[in-house]
Symmetry: none
Subunit: 414 residues, 2 copies
């Protein structure tokens, strides 16, 4: 078995209220394990649609992953339809009921009919326990074909995939070796990176493909190798990755799925250093990214979000004269914010960002997207000016990521 299909169920997908991100995530997981996704189909919460989509998919492949339509409310009919499709009855599953009861009572709530209904499952299925929510996953097998039903909530779907489905499908692909390797880069543009890698791409062995995956300014370079001998293919890919390090050493920050905030965290942890932030236009985004990493209390002490100038001068001790003369968005203000928060928190590093996120507030000299970043440490203060785009949320995200990247470089050379 080396191909599969995905069916996502939900009226919200067909009226454009929800973007189907589940399919891309599932496809990537399967693809990394050598299973080709043949087709993705999104349908509404209707019995006939579900049955015909299942029929069609099972004619083409032997593994069908279904998400959505498992909520406790009456618009969700996937479970009932699957029971009917596989000629089975809904029965109360005691293990699921215990799980659901535990989840509900832990939150000091009372079990009701809807919660109890979550523990009803088709008698013929194998239950895939869901510890991230109340709707269990279900595995159906018939004529050596498999249908797996999961909730549409991404965190619950991912839990069931990781706990139950991926261990089951790993190895299903048979002999074909597929190796994916990611090189994470920051600080350049896709077109620019492609230009620098033109020769590299041309000289790649036929069994290795390169893809550019940009997100929030991070560009993930994914090398995918396909071939018979895993060891040989692995060595070949190692060689290509070494080559990448010689061509674009300035923009590579890590390998694997690592984020900039994870990289910064591991560098600080290894060197036993700490950081704090002083944020104006990023509004707490950098602190929020840093603290999204488990264990970050070891390297992060705190932050002052100085949105209003009175906080910059009052709490951070920025000289009002600097703001009056140079403006709140200036190299001098960024530097003073960084040293101010470093003094207050006593950290080894301090990151400060001040800029114009937009949509308003720009001037001809300082248009929307102008951002000053400063990093203070025992070695002094370094600053960097950036000019991003017109979109507020993109500007905030890019500013935060650029600040993390600048911090990363400073930690490395510390």
């Amino acid at each position: 078995m080396n191909s599969a299909e995905i069916i996502t169920i939900g009226d919200e997908l067909l009226i454009g209220q929800t973007v189907d991100t589940n399919s891309a995530w599932i496809s990537m997981q399967l693809s990394m394990r050598g299973i080709r996704v043949n087709r993705i189909t999104s349908i509404s919460d209707r019995r006939d649609e579900i049955i015909s989509a299942l029929d069609e998919a099972l004619r083409r492949v032997s593994l069908v992953l279904v998400t959505g339509g498992l909520g406790p409310t009456s618009d969700d009919i996937t479970k009932e339809t699957l029971a009917e499709y596989f000629g089975s009855q809904l029965v109360m599953n005691e293990e699921v009921l215990a799980e659901v009861t535990e989840r509900i009572t832990r939150r000091n709530l009372e079990m009701n009919e809807n919660n109890r209904r979550q523990a009803l499952v088709p008698e013929c299925c194998r239950v895939l326990l869901n510890r991230a929510g109340t709707a269990p996953g279900m595995l159906f097998e018939k004529n050596s074909k498999k249908v797996i039903s999961m909730p549409g909530v991404p965190s619950e779907m991912k839990y069931i995939m990781q706990e139950h489905v991926l261990p089951m499908v790993t190895g299903m692909a048979g002999d074909t070796t597929i190796i994916h390797r990611n090189i994470m880069t920051y600080g350049t543009f896709e077109a620019k990176l492609a230009e620098r890698l033109e020769e590299f791409e041309r000289e790649l062995p036929a069994v290795i493909k390169l893809a550019y995956l940009p997100s929030h300014g991070v560009i993930k370079l994914r090398l995918t190798g396909t071939g018979g001998n895993a060891r040989q293919l692995g060595l070949m890919m190692d060689g290509q990755i070494r080559k990448l390090y010689t061509i674009i050493p300035d923009v590579i920050y890590g390998e694997g799925e690592i984020t900039l905030e994870e990289k910064v965290g591991s560098l600080l942890l290894n060197k036993n250093l700490t950081v704090s932030t002083a944020e104006s236009c990023t509004g707490g985004k950098i602190a929020s990214l840093i603290t999204s990493v488990p264990g970050s209390s070891a390297w992060f002490k705190g932050s002052v979000v100085a949105y209003d100038n009175s906080i910059k001068t009052g709490m951070l001790g920025v000289d009002p004269e600097i703001i009056r003369k140079q403006g709140a968005v200036s190299e001098e203000t960024a530097a003073a914010m960084a040293s101010g928060v470093r003094r207050l928190t006593g950290t080894d590093f301090a990151v400060a960002v001040t800029g114009i996120a937009g949509p308003t507030g720009g001037t001809p000299e300082k248009p929307v997207g102008t951002v000053w970043i400063a990093i203070a440490s025992g070695r002094g203060i370094i600053t960097e000016k950036q000019r991003f785009a017109d979109d507020r949320l993109i500007n905030i995200s890019r500013s935060a990521h650029s600040a993390l990247n600048l911090l990363r470089k400073q930690i490395i050379s510390y």
Copy 2:
């Protein structure tokens, strides 16, 4: 004609490299014009796949919108396959050629074979000029069924939709009126909400459907009405929404697509009030949400992210005895953090959160997911204890949203 299907073409969709956002956008546009999207199918850049997906879709509906596979490189074969499917030849279209030449030379680039190939189109199609890129849209008609092919680049697809397709399909739906209305709720669970709305749902007129769309603790209730007379249907839906306000007044926070942070912002703006935050386990997330809203400098002054206890006692002035006796995660600490940051920033409201986001740090008395929220204002301090789940990122997000919701209630009654 009142139903359509979407086919998105591209290997990148089936290996999870790209999330298909085009389908949701197209679906929303069609749905707002009364055209129901019956199915969305994603397939790879393969001739057989394209032909069978077209065949199947055209058996079900009379309008099929296709995106992707129109790039200049050899892996894109949609145009050739459509020419074959409709029994037509590729011919050079002079109007498209002139457009492409103009675009390329404007960028000081030279026309090459790949660019010229973009101007080849099937003889039988009507060209839908693309001024946002080089690949033209194409309209095919056969047996009073329509197939429209557009590039997969979102900005180019949207240009062709807005310039050519939407004007054409508006009115195609005939008499069918479709009205969507969203009611935004926070502070309850889907199962609980469904229980409270059981009778409401049972009594809904047949032409109105209710859907529950949960995300980050926010549950969007979507009422969809389908019927002949727009005014009558609108009045009927108004009545149902009024009814919802009588059944679940405590959890409704707004209508439309509004987020909690937008609602909080508009309430503060209307009452000319300001807010600051003191954050421990949320690590700046609340400030980050508040400042994601354009114009938030009018109501948000700043924040202290007090991750380390030294920041809680030092900057926020929390009595070290409170932390020693009650712990950093306690009602007393949350309250002291809130009054501390309110004093420092001089805002009308201050929000404080302290909790255990996990995965480590839990104890039997204070397990992972335990969170204390405090809101300080001129009227004193109110507090709330929450117990969330085991996932770090979910705990952070829920804590931030619960704090915003508690703040929202306080502003309303202020």
